[in-house]
């Protein structure tokens, strides 16, 4: 890591727990390297806070290589910061200028209540996934791969949908806190494959029902989610989810 030479003013949302109102607190950081990731910058801040005997900022992170979906942070009005198709851990301080003021807030949604500071409860996503249920697969030896032909186009589309890491940036940026990009990716990845056909109708209905029950908003097709998604999940998936849901309701 090169020698730190950036001065950054951070305005961070501090909130003790879900019940107490939070507010933005300003911190000055003087020796920030442009090579640091955004999370490493927060590590520096937390070291300083701990040294001073203050409560460090709580934030979610795990793999720090852009694949787990844990890191969140609404940075200067955008989820995962100013760059497209990256997670916060893959955002580096060189994307900011010396002397910048950076405002960092948690994801804001009724369905994602704040646990503490910048961490929010995203278990609503887990409950939606769980409602998708299982797929029926025969036990015994795995059958020969060639006995299950899948058109290349469908396999690619399914794989693109499956790239969703469930970080919640789509909800965070949506003006309605809608989870439709996430849910549509999860419905699409199975709807496109032969293995997903048995439960196809029920899956669409149940996942949408759970999404509604969690209190996410409704999609107004502004397209913000697609732009902010670190994995580039396409709006095509939302259209597919709509089709799946309409057909499911016609059938059952």
């Amino acid at each position: 890591m090169s020698h730190g030479n950036m001065k950054i003013t951070l305005k961070v949302w501090r909130q003790k727990n879900a019940k107490i109102n939070g507010q933005l607190v300003t911190y000055q950081l003087n020796d920030i390297s442009p090579d640091m990731s955004f999370l490493e910058m927060f590590d520096v801040l937390n070291e300083q806070l701990i040294t001073k005997g203050e409560d460090p900022v709580a934030f979610d992170h795990d793999c720090r290589e852009g694949i787990c979906g844990m890191c969140s942070m609404f940075i200067n009005g955008r989820p995962h910061g100013p760059k497209n198709k990256v997670t916060t851990c893959q955002l580096h301080m060189r994307s900011f200028k010396d002397g910048d003021t950076i405002v960092v807030e948690p994801w804001r949604a009724a369905a994602f209540p704040v646990i503490k500071d910048l961490t929010v409860d995203r278990t609503a996503f887990d409950r939606i996934i769980a409602k998708g249920g299982f797929i029926s697969v025969n036990t015994g030896n795995a059958q020969d791969a060639n006995s299950l032909p899948i058109p290349k186009h469908d396999a690619d589309k399914s794989f693109e949908a499956a790239a969703c890491i469930g970080c919640g940036a789509c909800v965070a940026t949506c003006k309605n806190s809608s989870a439709m990009l996430f849910v549509s990716a999860k419905i699409s990845q199975l709807a496109l494959l032969p293995q997903g056909q048995v439960e196809r109708v029920a899956r669409a209905k149940n996942m949408v029902a759970q999404m509604d029950a969690e209190g996410f908003g409704n999609c107004s097709n502004t397209g913000a989610c697609e732009i902010e998604c670190p994995k580039g999940i396409s709006l095509e998936n939302i259209a597919r989810m709509n089709r799946e849901f309409y057909v499911a309701n016609l059938k059952d």
Partner: protein, 245 residues
């Protein structure tokens, strides 16, 4: 060698029980509400097309004879009369559903962001459909008072040379007033931006999103959103300046 354990079948039937219908009424679901917005929106778009086509008869510039023939046909045809009721139902449904969706959506984010850089990922008119729609409603109040109330209830001023009711004369009368022209042009601008988002958005909601046709939908939607309001705006403006009389 491949064989199936009985447990797999049991799982399957369990899945069926667990995964049977748990969703609420279709029209109360998030996607059901969106479908209502899209369908009523597309229906209102089809109305705009008919309305714009018939009103364009004023551009024959024949003292309103052609226009009054069109107006008389619309007034007497029973199917059109029935569709007028459907149109009002569609319009009210579109507005009520929008209101319900807006309330749902504002509940979904009780605490707002201190800093939200929405311009970086959305168009202003996509975020302002409620405001644009409300402006259109204000315009509609003026518009209905100007023409619909007169033609249906308070009566029109006499007949033209063909013996048709002279709705054209009402247009000439109305479009002499400066502030009315401003309201109509403003209404057309609001309509253009409302359509610019609404047209392609309705297709997405229907599930009609396909790489082969997306460009076509977007281009058609953009042209529709510009051309139709432009023709509408040309009517009061050209009457005010006497290009049509």
């Amino acid at each position: 060698m491949s064989f199936t354990f009985a447990i797999a079948n049991r799982n399957r039937s369990n899945n069926h029980i667990i995964m049977s219908n748990t969703s609420k009424n279709f029209l109360l679901s998030s996607i059901g509400k969106k479908l209502v917005m899209g369908l009523t929106g597309l229906f209102l778009i089809s109305f705009l097309l008919v309305h714009c086509f018939l009103n364009s008869f004023i551009f024959f510039n024949d003292g309103g004879l052609m226009f009054n023939i069109g107006a008389a046909f619309m007034a007497k045809n029973w199917l059109i009369r029935a569709m007028e009721v459907v149109l009002f139902v569609g319009l009210v449904w579109h507005m009520v559903q929008a209101l319900i969706l807006t309330m749902d959506n504002s509940k979904a984010r009780p605490v707002k962001y201190a800093v939200n850089n929405a311009t970086s990922n959305t168009k202003w008119y996509s975020r302002s459909m409620g405001v644009l729609g409300s402006l259109l409603l204000l315009f509609l109040v003026v518009h209905l008072a100007n023409f619909w109330v007169k033609s249906r209830f308070t009566g029109l001023p006499g007949e033209d040379a063909n013996g048709n009711e002279n709705l054209y004369a009402v247009m000439q009368e109305t479009f002499r007033i400066g502030w009315i022209i401003a309201v109509y042009v403003g209404g057309c601008i609001a309509l253009a931006y409302h359509l610019l988002h609404g047209f392609p958005s309705a297709f997405q909601t229907m599930g009609w999103n396909h790489p082969k046709y997306n460009r076509l939908i977007l281009i058609t939607g953009t042209l529709f959103s510009i051309i139709i309001p432009l023709i509408f705006a040309a009517m009061p403006v050209s009457m005010y300046f006497g290009w049509v009389n």
